[in-house]
Amino acid sequence: MILRLVDVTFRYPGARDDALAGVSLNVAPGEFYAVLGPNGSGKTTLIRVALGAAARVGSAEILGRPVGAWSRRELARLVAVVAQREDNLFPQRVRETVLLGRYPHLSLWGGARAADRAAVDRALAVCDAGHLADRWIWSLSGGEYQRVRVARALAQEPRLLMLDEPGVSLDVRHEMELFELVRGLVDRSELAVVMVTHHTNLAARFADRVLLLAGGRAVAGGAPQDVLTRATVERVFAWPVALQQFDGRPQIVPLRQSRS
């Protein structure tokens, strides 16, 4: 297992409730795992715990070793995260920001080697962002920027890629391109992916497994057709839905409120 969470309970300092309560998760190499759930259900917290935020109860392991036993640099060579938000305080070009993904591989005083620049070019090419290399970050569209951030994560050459709501604010084409890109990476290599997303329908079509969180607890986990049943979805998202099949995967259609 590349990532293994066992009965993880986590509470933020000063909070009254657990953000995660007894959640378990196993992610194998070559597996695309989607984490679903309403706002505030603990999805982002799950990523934090997987990368070393200390759990109150339970354990988090990367490659069979407790996550706290890895140094930050070692961890960054194994796990890449495309976080929900990041700052861009000072202007940067695309190639520069993707090169940041090589930092965990560089020595303290040494510069970027040919191998590092090659990894940057490869990552840009895989994400269809090679032509953006010399552009300024702020001149990119939302979809291009997201591809560049995925490229930076891939430049880390990780075994596990975690994405936190990467599809937010993308239009249909860019959203689909992103999911196709991630699916392609998983299929062509042994990369494991954990994607936190609100796109239940896309997750159902692209992911191998889904984990459904509600109020910090795991409601269900497994293949999309087993997890995403009408009863479960209505209960978790507190809204009436209809369930249809498309390409053999469950698709959810939220219902209009009945007018009385």
Partner: protein, 306 residues
């Protein structure tokens, strides 16, 4: 860049109220101007590196070594020493240094209050608060002081290199390499910090440790600078931005460039300060502001155009 620095050094050594032909054999160049230029270079470079590090650290382009309360603490220390007539050549620098350290510890403790991580917002706000408090006490002391003391204190607050000697140069030259090296070693994590704490951590930076180290190192540089030369503003704010505009924001290039750039700018500013109204002198902080701000505005225009 290097050519510019050499040019600045030559100018600093040769320019002055005494005609060039009369300089030989007077000891003016070697005993007065040379230590002054070297000290100016070290102080300017240190302030610029401290500013570059702090701007990335608190993720605020307005951060300045003196915004974090250190100048207030140093000024208070110096004014106390002046008011109580503490004797000795090193009394003033040591008092200023002690004042800056007290401010550093206060701000640092405040920013750690939330847990193990230094909170950059509290570093800024705490710095401003400590600075304001120190300024109030400083003003209280100055307002009760004699006229000459007041003038000395005022001049000292605006910065100057007139007291430079080879002794001060030696002390500063021994002191600054360690904090400079600490900041230089953090060059890559500082690049990452610009993205935010969480993304930086995911890219391998130990955010808490980097922040503590760079903050303390930058503060120690500032404290030393303020102790030997008073409060010389704008270098720490403007030079890193000029460096970013010219060399990009990669700290491995930016930090050395800031050091050379800050040193050069201060040496030039000091040359102007001591020649323009010779035989009297302007506080060099006034000149750095007068040179630095228009330069900055020019570069900002270029920035917004590209």
């Amino acid at each position: 860049m290097v050519a510019l620095a050499i040019g600045a050094a030559t100018t600093a050594l040769l320019l002055g109220p005494v005609p060039l032909a009369d300089l030989r054999g007077t000891g003016i160049v070697w005993d007065l101007r040379a230590p002054r230029a070297v000290l100016g270079f070290l102080v300017g470079g240190s302030l610029a590196v401290a500013g570059a590090g702090l701007q990335a650290l608190v993720r605020n382009p307005l951060a300045d070594p003196f915004l974090l309360g250190l100048s207030g603490g140093a000024a208070l220390g110096a004014v106390v020493a002046i008011a109580f007539d503490v004797a000795g050549a090193w009394a003033l620098p040591l008092a200023a240094f002690a004042g800056a350290l007290v401010a550093l510890v206060l701000v640092y403790r405040m920013a750690l209050a939330g847990g193990g991580a230094l909170d950059p917002r509290i570093l800024l706000l705490g710095g401003v608060a400590v600075g304001a408090f120190a300024a109030a006490v400083t003003t209280a002391i100055v307002s009760l002081a004699e006229a000459t003391e007041l003038r000395n204190a005022f001049l000292w607050l605006w910065g100057g290199l007139a007291t430079a000697s080879w002794d001060t140069v030696l002390v500063v030259a021994i002191y600054v390499p360690l904090p400079l090296a600490v900041i230089a070693a953090a060059a890559r994590p500082l690049d990452l910090l610009v993205l935010g704490d969480e993304p930086a951590g995911y890219l391998g930076a130990d955010v808490e440790r980097v922040r503590r180290r760079v903050y303390v190192a930058a503060s120690l540089l500032t404290a030393a600078a303020v102790a030997v030369s008073g409060v010389i503003g704008f270098i720490g704010l403007i030079v890193p931005h000029i460096g970013r505009l010219v060399w990009g924001h990669r700290h491995r290039a930016l930090l050395p460039a800031s050091f050379v750039g800050g040193g050069t700018l201060l040496v030039l500013a000091d040359t102007v300060a001591r020649t323009i109204v010779a035989p009297r002198e302007l506080p060099v902080g006034i000149v750095t502001a007068l040179i630095g701000v228009p330069l900055f505005v020019l570069l900002l225009r270029r920035w917004t155009i590209t």
